[in-house]
Amino acid sequence: MLTDEAKLIVAAQAGSVAAFANLVGRYRVKLLRFLLTRCANFADAEDVLQETLTAAFRYLHSYDSRWRFSTWLYRIAIRNAQKMRSDLVVDLGDEVNDVIDETSNPLTDCIAASETENLWISARRVLNDDVFAALWLRYAEDMSISDVSKALERPDSWTKVNLYRARKALSVELKRESDGAIACG
């Protein structure tokens, strides 16, 4: 028996925009939040979200139902974000560094000021793109190791090792910050 999602997928594969909009409705916000961690600014994240959903609709026939639909969507989103970044590098050449300020983070605009720093801000600072994405998909999106690996096009062993390292690096960072806070206090 087909689940609601499977029914929507079948209808969308037949060309129904309404079914597709319904299908991706539950993922839009999550995807945008994830894309904010991979794009230089909010506008880019929105553009990548639009491109991702459009590409997903166009190529929905190639979706393999053995995958979770969300994993497939995230994979497209990651590719599109990478493409946007590389296009920017090609277009701007050396000037790209002026546009992409590595220290700026669009995430910070979306986080309410609080006493403790959001862990994802710390993670963005200490982890590289792919390791950060693995951590995000695993703990923010509750994906299995296998799904994370598929979304990132990496072997399971890579995902396991890098999740372990990421947790370790975050723990060190947290300890350092808490020690600093105590010293200042």
């Binding site: 594969q13 060309g15 925009v17 597709f20 909009a21 839009r28 916000v29 945008l32 939040r33 904010l36 929105e46 979200l49 639009q50 959903l53 459009t54 609709f57 166009r58 190529y59 929905l60 026939h61 190639s62 995430l107 979306c110 986080i111 309410a112 609080s114 959001n118 862990l119 994802w120 993670a123 951590l135 995000w136 703990y139 923010a140 947790r167 975050l170 723990s171 947290l174």
Partner: protein, 142 residues
């Protein structure tokens, strides 16, 4: 779930993001303008049973041909041994085995004349045989 995982989950929820109406409209507009790529019909060429028979027979014929060629060369090798004593090999060999093995094979080999020492050796051997034969006749009183 340990403390770090829990904190990561809570902090992810604290990232306040929403899809604006304008973005929604943009997405819908691009979905309407983007026609799904037609699925390419999967045309697995179904081969008829005749194809499998034909390929099997071709394979068998090839195998027989290889066996026949191999056996032909073996027969030539065996036949060439008794002919070693002849004064010439090559063309004469081809001629001698040709009637039994079908069309003559171009060996691309030149006729080799036995050199004087070898011929001398053969004469010596024949002489030794004659001497031995004579001695045996004497011994048995013939």
């Amino acid at each position: 779930m340990d403390k770090l995982e829990e904190q990561l989950k809570i902090d992810a929820e604290r990232i306040d993001v929403e899809v604006s109406d304008e973005l929604d409209r943009r997405i819908l507009a691009s979905l309407h303008s983007a026609a799904p790529v037609a699925q390419k019909s999967i045309t697995v060429a179904r081969r008829s049973r005749l194809f499998w028979w034909a390929s099997s027979l071709t394979g068998l014929a090839a195998a027989f041909a290889i066996i026949a060629v191999f056996n032909t060369f073996s027969a030539i090798d065996e036949l060439s041994e008794p002919l070693a004593g002849l004064s010439t090999v090559g063309d004469s060999l081809s001629n001698s085995i040709a009637p039994t093995l079908g069309p003559p094979i171009d060996w691309k080999a030149e006729s080799a004349m036995l050199t004087q020492p070898l011929q001398q050796e053969m004469l010596d051997v024949q002489s030794d045989i004659k001497k031995a034969e004579r001695r045996v006749r004497e011994d048995i009183g013939l």
